[in-house]
């Protein structure tokens, strides 16, 4: 009888392997992708134990639950398999250890069950996921009972048969679920960690958030059907455990726009699979009607397809979902590649977005305004335009320069640079849009044209580094222009101003006790990992700084990224209103911002009680107060 449990384990492993191979047939439908298998395999333990657990640990209950149940399950299963080795099978101490491992698993299974019963949190999926605790309990208690019987040497054949049968019911169930049930996440997740499409994100440096350049000569541009996705992207979607962390972080979901990143990933899975189980999580809010065809590998986006275009265009590309996903899934990459097909091949962009893209193409500026008018914000104040001479700082003005409100911020920044006697200049009429917006809207062709033109312009001038107040421009110049062989040292104005203050070139005075809360721009915090400089700078101003519940890399988007303001998909609420409400909860009288888009979005909130001020404006006020 001592062979019963190891036999069960071998059958389980065999079944799981068969199920995995069946599933792998689906992954292989995807396009080829280069994968560094060896390096990935070596890095797996670190990726799992450090990177994954760093995210999992944000939910203390889930973290404990997962450690206990997954650790117990692995340990118990491995240990039980060892019983096949003769000396061990007869050892009662060994069986006691096995019992202990099953006991831990059982405890974990109880935690899993307690989370889902009697009432399951909204963000978790039901359906097939609800049998997970049942299977776990059966396997754990069956295994526990069998091991205990053996440990205590109770030779009751019927009892042992019953226990092993219970364990087999649970265990085989779990193994079977590897293909399309909850246990898929374990196998696909491990493989995904090895074959991750963005291995650099585990390197511990700045986040790896730059979009991958698209080959504009490819026969088909962007993703039309799941088969256009790389195979390891399909694999990555299978890693989803439907925990709904992405959904809770998604600003579009919160605003009642028809987007739910979890559902989107599941729709992509279902679009590639003929017999995928019905989705049982939260839907797209205010879901638009679609007539989804039943055959797999059909085009994914469209009113007559699985995902409505409004879903695709609701995303602000804020990366909150990516930041929160314990399975390291890259939602934004998927969304942008789907958008690329819509924009480049079908010309199916929302009307306002189309007009903006036309402007970017024909006027190199998203409002179709003259490039020379970018410096008008200075309202007559002298603004050095770069010439032959090398300057220390090239000030990249960005789109905000055309905005009346944001002109105030730029004037403050220019004034501070002058006060600190910084040797700086602007490009003047030579500055084009960076193409960031075009890129997020999927218009890679326009983006690449603009990027090449900007790279050529920058190559003509000599400067030590680029300072910009626009995190979107910063991200493009610093990270995305690399694909064109251009590397610049790009500094955000908050970091640069902090530097000036620390060098004593600017002397802030105390602003006197007002309370301030800082809203992290997604493209600075999550995309570039810069959350400290703005806070340090604020702390120098004698302000009482309070944090919103969501801040730093886990901050919530203002709703202004990814072309969402021009796509303008209606929801129940507006994202900036939600964010300003969060700011109001802190009681702060000032919401400090560090991005032209955040400024516009948050200032546009009606009935707000707090002032919206860029850090440059606050610093200027404090420097002037300190005189």
């Amino acid at each position: 009888m001592t062979y019963a449990l190891p036999a069960l384990v071998f059958v389980m492993v065999a079944l799981a392997t068969v199920q995995t191979l069946r599933r792998a047939a689906w992954w292989r439908l995807g396009a080829a992708a280069p994968v560094a298998w060896g390096a990935g395999l070596l890095a797996l333990p670190k990726r799992y134990l450090v990177d994954v657990h760093h995210v999992v640990a944000r939910d203390a209950y889930a973290s404990r639950m997962h450690a206990v149940v997954a650790g117990g399950l692995l340990a118990a299963t491995l240990l039980a398999a060892l019983a096949a080795l003769p000396p061990l099978g007869g050892s009662r101490i060994y069986w006691a250890a096995v019992a202990l491992a099953f006991g831990v698993t059982a405890a974990g299974a109880v935690l899993v069950g307690a989370r889902r019963y009697p009432k399951r949190p909204k963000r978790l999926s039901g359906g097939g996921f609800q049998i997970l605790p049942v299977l776990l309990l059966a396997y754990a208690f069956g295994g526990l009972a069998a091991a205990l019987l053996l440990a205590f040497g109770v030779a009751s054949a019927p009892a042992l048969v019953a226990a092993v049968a219970l364990a087999a019911g649970g265990g085989l169930g779990l193994a079977y679920e590897v293909r399309s049930g909850p246990m898929r996440h374990a196998v696909a997740g491990a493989l995904h960690l090895i074959a991750h499409p963005r291995p650099r994100r585990f390197d511990g440096g700045a986040p790896d958030a730059a979009l991958v350049a698209l080959d504009l000569d490819a026969p088909r541009l962007g993703v039309e059907t799941p088969a256009d996705l790389a195979w390891n992207r399909l694999l990555s979607f299978d890693a989803c455990i439907q925990c709904g962390r992405c959904e809770s972080a998604c600003p579009a979901f919160a605003a009642g726009q028809p987007l739910n990143p979890k559902r989107l990933i599941q729709d992509l899975v279902a679009a590639a699979t003929a017999d995928e189980r019905a989705y049982a999580g939260s839907p797209y809010p205010n879901a638009r009607d679609v007539a989804a065809p039943t055959e797999p590998l059909f085009r994914v986006i469209g009113e007559g397809a699985r995902i409505h275009p409004d879903t695709l265009w609701s995303c602000t590309t804020c990366r909150a979902c990516v930041e929160e996903c314990p399975m390291m899934i890259e939602h934004v990459d998927a969304i942008v590649s789907l958008r690329r097909h819509q924009t480049l091949e079908l010309g199916a962009v929302p009307a306002k977005a189309a007009a903006t893209l036309d402007n970017l193409r024909a006027a190199e500026e998203l409002g179709g305004r003259p490039l020379a008018a970018r410096v008008d914000f200075a309202a007559g104040a002298p603004l050095p335009v770069i010439g032959e001479r090398e300057v220390d700082v090239l000030l990249w003005l960005g789109e905000g320069a055309y905005d009346l409100r944001y002109g105030r911020t730029l004037r403050a920044l220019v004034k501070l640079l002058n006060m600190a006697k910084v040797d700086f200049a602007v490009l003047g009429a030579e500055e084009r849009d960076t193409g960031d917006l075009a890129r997020r809207l999927g218009d890679e062709a326009t983006y690449q044209t603009l990027a090449r033109a900007n790279v050529a312009t920058l190559a003509r001038h000599r400067f030590k580094r680029i300072v910009t107040s626009d995190p979107h421009a910063l991200h493009a110049l610093r990270n995305e222009y690399r694909a064109f062989g251009a590397t610049y040292e790009v500094v955000h104005h908050t970091a640069f101003l902090l530097e000036l203050v620390e060098q004593g070139r600017l002397a802030p005075g105390a602003l006197g006790g007002a309370s301030v809360t800082y809203h992290d721009p997604c493209y600075l915090g999550r995309y570039n990992g810069e959350t400290e400089a703005p806070r340090k700078l604020l702390d120098r101003l004698g302000l009482d700084r309070v944090e919103m519940a969501r801040h730093g890399r886990r901050s919530m988007c203002c709703g202004g990224g990814g072309g969402a303001p021009v796509s303008d998909i209606p929801g129940d609420a507006r994202i900036p209103d939600l964010r300003m409400a969060q700011a109001a909860e802190t009681g702060a009288g000032i919401v400090a911002v560090a991005c032209p888009t955040c400024t516009a979005m948050l200032e546009g909130v009606t009935g707000r009680t707090a002032e919206v001020k860029d850090i440059a404006e606050l610093l200027l006020a404090s420097v002037e107060a300190g005189r």
Binding site: A379, L404, P570, R574, A600, T606
Partner: protein, 399 residues
């Protein structure tokens, strides 16, 4: 109706005390966010008309919106009745072809006469080629009028043929059309029919040279006046000299060729359904409006297309298509009536192209009040019924 219309603006202007030391303002110095007070001296300077050595003032050039915009007021009505100028035997004729939309001369039409006058000089005469008779043409600056037969219905080719015939019969030296949808269309038809060059969209008129923009307004082209000319709106002032006799010049009747247009039916504008971007007059509600029945009734009574600020559209109180602003519709309306709208930058972007703005707002410091040509600091809920009542009263008074 003889009730003297109150004009608060001119009342205030009349009450202004000139001569005090006060800052001078450049007339078109728009950078000043404040509202400059009138400076009669610089106004007079700005009214000087380029050209002849004699001092000519263009009273429309006041730089003050209200006076400049009212065509009726541009007429030298207040001056003592001047004697009619008679040109007995003009050496040549310069023709104008006004649109006469609705049977009346528009401001643009009147400007044609001034341009024609410049080209006619001292020896030539200005002749209006019109489809209808009208007493207006003399005061507007016509020495002669000729009736070109207007065919019934819509047949622009027949009109063009009639004008081409008149051009030959009267040996017209120049023919000036307004660069409007109708006038511009007619001018081009005449040009290809008569095989004459057209100098289109002229922005500057002098006796010996015309100027027009080209290549997306990046260059200007100058040439001696062509035979056919279209004149851009507001490039020159309306004719402001003494009335002329507008003597009738007989023309042979003209048989129109057969037309390929089988039927034409005019569909009048329905302000309630006009797309916002095309509407000429938009009545718009913001968060300061709570009574939507009154709002809709007001828009209907005024014949305006209803619009709204984003707040109302987001709240579902107004349809999304009604949203005015950066993320809604950018207007090209002549006039915008803003009821309870604060004037957020994103909203103002949508009305940047509107010539005139009326604001009703309880807040004197609202940005919309600053933007408006007429601002009423009052509750919109009180003003809307008053507007409806006033229109009803007018209707009764005329019944």
């Amino acid at each position: 109706m003889t009730r003297a219309r109150r004009d608060p603006r001119s009342e205030r202007a009349a009450a202004a005390r000139p001569g005090l030391t006060r800052p001078r303002f450049e007339l078109f110095a728009r950078e000043s966010g404040r509202r400059p007070r009138r400076n009669p001296r610089s106004e007079t300077l700005a009214q000087q008309v380029e050209g002849p050595s004699r001092l000519r003032l263009d009273r429309a050039q006041t730089g003050r919106a209200a006076a400049a915009l009212a065509p009726e007021r541009a007429e030298p009505a207040a001056a003592p009745a001047p004697t009619t100028i008679v040109v007995e035997a003009p050496a040549f004729l310069v023709a104008v072809v006004p649109d006469l939309a609705g049977g009346r001369l528009s401001l643009h039409d009147r400007q044609l006469f001034d341009a024609a006058r410049t080209l006619a000089g001292a020896d030539g005469g200005v002749i209006a080629l019109v489809g209808t008779e009208g007493a207006e043409f003399g005061p507007a600056g016509a020495d002669r009028t000729a009736r070109v037969a207007a065919p019934e219905g819509y047949d622009p080719d027949a009109r063009a043929a009639a004008i081409a015939a008149a051009m030959a019969a009267l040996d017209l030296r120049h023919v000036i059309f307004p660069e409007t949808p109708d006038g511009g269309d007619l001018a081009r038809r005449v040009a290809v029919l008569a095989g004459e060059p057209l100098f289109a969209d002229v922005e500057m008129v002098a006796a010996a040279t015309l100027m027009r923009p080209a290549r997306g307004r990046r260059v200007e082209q100058r040439a001696a006046p062509a035979r056919l000319i279209t004149l851009a709106a507001d490039a020159v002032a309306p004719y402001a000299g003494a009335p002329r006799e507008a003597r009738d010049e007989p023309l042979d009747t003209f048989a129109a060729p057969a037309s390929a247009i089988l039927s034409a039916e005019r569909i009048p504008a329905d302000p309630a359904r006009t797309p916002l971007g095309l509407a000429d007059f938009v009545v718009s509600a913001g968060a300061g409006v709570t009574d939507f029945d009154a709002f809709r009734a007001t828009a209907a009574a005024l014949g305006g297309t209803p619009g709204a600020s984003r707040v109302l559209c987001d709240a579902g109180l107004m349809p999304r298509e009604a949203q005015v602003g950066a993320s809604g519709t950018v207007l090209s309306a002549t006039c915008y009536l803003a009821l309870g709208i604060a004037g957020a930058p994103q909203h103002l972007q949508g009305i940047a192209g509107c010539d005139h703005v009326v604001a009703v707002n309880t807040d004197l410091h609202a940005a919309m009040v600053e933007r408006a040509g007429l601002a009423i600091v009052q509750d919109a809920q009180a003003v809307m019924p008053a507007l409806i009542a006033e229109l009803a009263r007018e209707r009764e008074a005329s019944a």
